[in-house]
């Protein structure tokens, strides 16, 4: 285990303790424990949640429904758990999914072997699912736009822009990087909303369905022109993350 993994392991143990969960028990019972997301990629912010995939036997998952209090405690402890059975991990649906492809590239295995990692291949279904998700979200946001407090407008502009970026990556079979890398690329690339929308118009499923998305994103020019946001996006990158960023940039360029 290298020093980055050791550091992550210590943070995971602390967060488990803070969330009232028994790490020692998990070590014995889990088949795999994998950290993914911003912590695994080394691009986390202060206060970022720790995303952890726990693979267990189906028998252990029985009656494993988290009580409300434990869930709230976990959230406060900065822990975001995804629990799956060993059988689910072997399914074609999982191996073709967005999350599996993300974990295969950015995941950090703390327990268990990474046996399924090389078998992951983004499926058409993953892109279709993302497309349905995006269209449903955009329709819903557009319908409620006038009612939403201004503080939610920026949230949904960013969410929809990111979801569109993710969809375009999935359609090109590129694993989704952590959100911070996605944002970094958005600010550095700087080609803006029009360019993103014209790429989206090239997607068969989105053609004719872009009204809601473009209405929401067209109010986004302020975001792209915001020099402060751009500057902070450029400043956050510590040297240790340069490897990840180079990799992410290569992946993102590959879509063009």
């Amino acid at each position: 285990m290298n020093s980055h993994s050791q550091l992550i392991l210590r943070i995971v143990q602390t967060r488990f303790r803070r969330a009232g969960l028994d790490w020692a028990h998990l070590q014995e019972s889990a088949r795999e424990v994998v950290v993914f997301g911003s912590h695994a990629a080394g691009v986390n912010r202060k206060g970022s949640d720790m995303d952890v995939l726990v693979v267990e036997d189906a028998a252990q998952m029985k009656n494993a429904r988290l009580e409300v209090r434990s869930r709230a405690q976990m959230k406060r402890g900065g822990l975001d758990l995804v629990r799956m059975s060993a059988a689910e991990i072997e399914s074609a649906e999982w191996l073709g999914s967005e999350l599996a492809s993300h974990i295969a590239v950015y995941g950090l295995w703390l327990i268990g072997p990474d046996e399924w990692r090389d078998r992951v291949q983004i499926s058409t279904n993953a892109g279709d699912k993302k497309e349905r998700h995006l269209l449903s979200l955009a329709r819903s946001v557009d319908a409620h736009w006038w009612r939403l407090h201004p503080c939610f407008h920026q949230k949904y502009r960013s969410t929809i822009r990111r979801e569109l970026q993710r969809l375009l990556l999935l359609r090109n079979a590129i694993p989704i990087p952590p959100t911070r890398i996605l944002d970094f690329n958005w600010y550095v690339d700087g080609s803006g909303v029009e360019s993103l929308l014209s790429k989206a118009a090239g997607q068969a499923g989105l053609r004719g369905n872009l009204d809601h998305i473009s209405r929401i994103l067209s109010t986004c020019t302020k975001e792209t022109k915001n020099k402060q946001a751009k500057a902070s996006a450029l400043q956050w990158c510590p040297p240790s993350t340069s490897l990840w960023l180079t990799r992410a940039r290569e992946l993102l360029r590959a879509q063009d």
Binding site: R65, D80, V82, S136, L137, S140, V141, L148
Partner: protein, 112 residues
Amino acid sequence: MLYRGLKTLSDEEFDPTDAESVQVCLDAHISDALRKIPTHHRSPLDLHDTIIVVLGNRADSDLLDWAESFQDLINTYGGNPSEEDMDQAAEVLESIIDTLGSYLPNKESADE
């Protein structure tokens, strides 16, 4: 206002197959509640924080736990909560509504 909004969310808008639209409807109800109680928040408030804004220190810890869990259940990684998560979210929402109702002196008029 928040109580009525959450009741509408539970009775009319909660679609267990569409977590995103549940989240958007929730944000719309939070927005309605914030319109009545002006705050200086510039970042989006979640249900937990909104309950604190509305009830102040009268908000009990169970209610706050439920609010936090509800958001967590409908916002799992990748925006695809399981059927079981959405069922649990619906149950938690009911508990939130019941508890919020107990804070209202005139619950019947809020129900109308």
